[in-house]
């Protein structure tokens, strides 16, 4: 089972919105994942514990050695299908 982190300023609102959205999309497609909203301030300490990172900040701001997708399309709906396909390919790796 793949572990996915979504990070935002407090690990509560934006990250949880994206996490809930992705979680229900995975459920609909029968993908078995553990997805968690986390605090961006503690991300450096815990990033090793996840398999896939969903970032909601700009591309150059937090770079980790993890497969990364952008979470913004899941909020705006624009370009969501592409990002979802990318995420699925990481989950199925």
């Amino acid at each position: 089972m793949k572990r996915i982190y979504v990070a935002c300023g407090s690990g509560v609102a934006t990250s949880q919105t994206v996490a809930s959205k992705i979680s229900s999309m995975c459920e609909d497609e029968g993908l078995d994942v553990a997805i968690e909203a986390v605090d961006i301030k503690s991300l450096e300490n815990i990033i090793d514990q996840c398999d896939i990172y969903v970032s909601i900040v700009s591309n150059d701001a937090n770079i980790f050695d993890k497969p990364t997708v952008s979470g913004i399309p899941f909020l705006t709906g624009i370009g969501m299908d592409d990002e979802w396909e990318k995420l699925k390919s990481f989950i199925e790796l």
Binding site: A13, Q16, T17, V57, D60, I72, T76, I78
Partner: protein, 449 residues
């Protein structure tokens, strides 16, 4: 009818809101299982918030009392951060009405071309519920409460249009802007920034925010900040080592648990928020607009964290100095990393770290004043809505008040107070000046492209 209504409200937010939530979910076509889970999660969120808040008060109240006795400074309100304040807002009996209210204003303004911003951030509807409940409480009029919330909704959208280009320049994320109420303080912060222009040499100093973030980043973590402030209060209160260490670790525990509990609110509200935002997006297919989001897409800018950490000692110092002048009762704690000022300062200071720090310091007294002024009101609200249990003599405060001048002004202007009306007039003038200034800035950004 009134008796029934009062009985239901008297059951407490943790009981009646889950019921409303389940009914609302079923009406919106949610599956029974999902609707019940969402409702129960909401009840757990309220109860959990009380558990953590009670734990934190038990840990910090004796230490705070000891501090007051030791030093003679009056600090009776404790900064609990946004999470418990949001739960007071959600417990307001008219809270749910704010969803259609905000959505309707947004759709009308888009239809009339008064804004290009579609605000899909339905979590921060609580910020509008908060102002509506405060204004209603202070002025005694529900209508004034909703008018105040309407003013906030409109300003958030107009401001979202104004700051979009600068936000893009910082984040490089296209098609989005920020409609968080914290940005409604930008006009005042821009005025502070203008004052800084008169200090010679200020533009020559450039601080390296990425380097500083690596060194100072640890202080931004809730656990470390809770530990330090807990130890500080217990230490000044004259506790021995064991007492200091115990208070410190308990306060740190509360700081880390608050967001974990707040996450439950979000989990409960996510299905409704998602349905509502999909509804809004579908209404305007084909029209060009910016999507208004909550602030964290800006959280990748290291400047906002560095500035927030650097102003912490100043916040504590001002809290003490102002309390001796009789202007402050608040112990800064859960929102001591005050991003509500440093994030809009990013726009006002145009990303210059030194300016952001100075602007944030200049604004800090306003936060302490407003937090102190609203502490008794918020505490009474918490008790009246049965959202949170607070012992007598103890006050709930919130340092990172998000647009404090505007909210204070609205509450007191609608109460017919001259000072409130004066603040609102001054803010209106600041907004007009800021509007013109931002149009010039946006034009130069366009020309650069």
């Amino acid at each position: 009818m009134d008796a029934i209504l009062n009985y239901i409200l008297g059951l407490g937010a943790a009981i009646f809101l889950p019921v409303i939530m389940i009914i609302l979910g079923l009406c919106m076509g949610m599956k029974v299982k999902k609707a019940i889970t969402a409702g129960v999660t909401l009840g757990i969120a309220f109860t959990g918030m009380n558990v953590v808040l009670g734990f934190m008060f038990d840990a910090i109240s004796p230490a705070a009392k000891a501090l007051v006795e030791m030093t003679g400074i009056q600090l009776t309100a404790i900064d609990v951060g946004w999470a418990p304040i949001a739960s007071i807002a959600w417990a307001w009996p008219y809270a749910v009405l704010m969803f259609p209210f905000q959505i309707a204003i947004n759709l009308i303004m888009l239809a009339l071309n008064r804004t290009n911003c579609l605000n899909v951030d339905l979590w921060n509807v609580w910020g509008k519920i908060f102002i509506a409940s405060m204004v209603t409480y202070v002025s005694g009029s529900l209508i004034f409460g909703f008018i105040a919330a309407g003013i906030q909704v409109i300003l958030e959208l107009l401001n979202g249009d104004l700051i979009q280009k600068q936000l893009y320049q910082f984040t490089k994320i296209p098609g989005v802007t920020c409609t968080h109420p914290m940005f409604l303080q930008t006009p005042v912060l821009c005025a502070f920034n203008r004052i800084l222009d008169f200090i010679p040499g200020i533009n020559k100093i450039n601080l390296d925010s990425k380097g500083l973030k690596d060194k100072l980043g640890i202080f931004g973590e809730n656990s470390i900040m809770g530990l330090l402030v807990g130890a500080l209060i217990a230490g000044i209160g004259g506790y021995d080592f064991k007492g200091i260490a115990t208070t410190a670790i308990q306060v740190a525990t509360a700081m880390v648990l608050f967001p974990m509990v707040a996450k439950l609110f979000m989990q409960a509200l996510a299905p409704i928020a998602d349905a509502a935002s999909t509804f809004m997006k579908n209404k305007f297919k084909g029209r060009e607009f910016y999507i208004g989001l909550d602030w964290p897409f800006i959280a990748g800018q290291s400047e906002v964290w560095v500035a927030a950490i650097i102003i912490v000692p100043v916040e504590l110092l001002l809290a003490i100095v102002m309390s001796q002048m009789g202007l402050n009762n608040l112990i800064p704690l859960a929102s001591i990393i005050n991003v509500a000022v440093t994030v809009p300062a990013l726009i006002a200071g145009n990303g210059n770290l030194l300016r952001m720090i100075l602007i944030s310091i200049m604004a800090t007294p306003i936060y302490l004043l407003v937090a102190t002024s609203f502490a008794p009101v918020m505490t009474k609200m918490a008790i009246a809505t049965n959202a949170l249990q607070v012992q007598s003599g103890q006050f709930i405060g919130w340092l990172a008040f998000e647009a404090p001048e505007l909210r204070w002004g609205l509450a007191h202007a609608f109460n017919g107070e001259v000072t409130g009306i004066a603040v609102i007039i001054a803010l209106a003038l600041a907004f007009v000046w800021y509007f013109k200034r931002m149009i010039v800035i946006n034009k130069t950004l366009d020309d650069k492209k």
